[in-house]
């Protein structure tokens, strides 16, 4: 589904817009970008979303919107990513339809099973490590949570939280299908190079890499 999943954060983006960061991330090899703007008005968020949608189409990549189902729908995003305190999965599904990709944040097995049974298309597990990107995030759940949840559910797992070049291979070895990063990409001087390096690190340790996977970025 995706290998490297980049989540935006305009506070960390060194003056670049989220759409500019998204373009660089896609160029570097990110398969998915999630627009997360917790403090923006709807109009500005929609503007960024519509720009990222265009860029994602150029690269044939995935684009998700955090939290705001309305902005996901209005911008033509591939789907929405929802936390445990956002609109419930079933409500978002009713609004968006069966073809939307809906991801759910979880931090334990029960939440993961509930998401899978509720029809989530993927889950985001986190924070895996302690992180400064989300100041309200709890203590990292650790790699053990990935192993546990990998045993419990069959849907794709995206690990998130404190992931960087030093530990990204660990989360894949633990069973994550994809790694989501924030500052390790969006806060870098060279966003494209950072994304490229992280994706390479993922592919090197992916358990069953098929030849066609290595040509993924078309």
């Amino acid at each position: 589904m995706f290998d490297l999943y980049v989540v935006t954060d305009s506070d960390l983006s060194k003056g670049r817009t989220d759409a500019e960061v998204a373009r660089l991330a896609y160029e570097g090899g990110a398969d998915a970008v999630q627009l997360r703007m917790k403090h923006s008005d709807g109009r500005e968020m929609l503007k960024q979303a519509m720009e990222i949608r265009k860029v994602a189409d150029e690269f044939c990549k995935f684009f998700f919107v955090n939290d705001r189902v309305d902005i996901a729908m209005a911008s033509g995003a591939d789907g929405v990513h929802l936390g445990q305190s956002d609109i419930p999965l079933e409500v978002a599904r009713d609004l968006m339809g069966e073809t939307a990709i809906i991801g759910i944040s979880v931090d334990n097995v029960d939440q993961a099973i509930a998401a899978a049974e509720g029809g989530a298309d993927y889950i985001g597990i986190g924070s895996i490590f302690n992180t400064s990107t989300k100041p309200d995030a709890k203590q990292g759940v650790g790699l053990g949570a990935i192993y546990e949840i990998r045993e419990a559910v069959d849907i794709p797992i995206v690990a998130i939280g404190g992931i960087n070049r030093g530990n990204i291979q660990d989360v894949v070895r633990a069973g994550a299908d994809a790694a989501a990063v924030v500052s390790a990409v969006v806060a870098q001087d060279d966003v494209k190079a950072a994304a490229h390096e992280l994706r390479d690190l993922i592919l090197k340790v992916r358990p069953h890499v098929r030849p066609e996977d290595l040509d993924y970025g078309e």
Copy 2:
């Protein structure tokens, strides 16, 4: 369309939930309640919205959601109220369809004409007076803005901002079809009595009160 329009503010509600305040406001004679929760997660906002929807149905009154088109749709609200920095009117219309009631905040004639030409069902003009409810609100536009905009557009006008028992008749005399209040209702010890008094004050100065209007609250 409506006479008294109450906008929620959980910070001012003395520990009562927005749904509890809405019930009391409807009981007192409010025709419309708008759920405004600028700092809440989507799940909590949706919960309040679904409760208010039920209460509004009991009383056959209007229910609107501020800003969040997705929550308006998911809760079955009659419509959405959008500010100038929220999702644009035409985008909300595409998502919600022709039957949704969409209100747009304006503070000058140009914005009012744009909203009316864009298909808004009503406009909210404000802030009329200076207000402490919206700390980011600019200096009040005054009653003159109602006169001016009344000349320029035919759609219903809801005046908002700093309106209370002392000035509510002035905004109606200036041409507003309805008055929206926040603290003058939601912050009162007796929400129901406050709503009742304000609605009575509106009806006493409405230019062309027909007998059936006086039996409005069924």
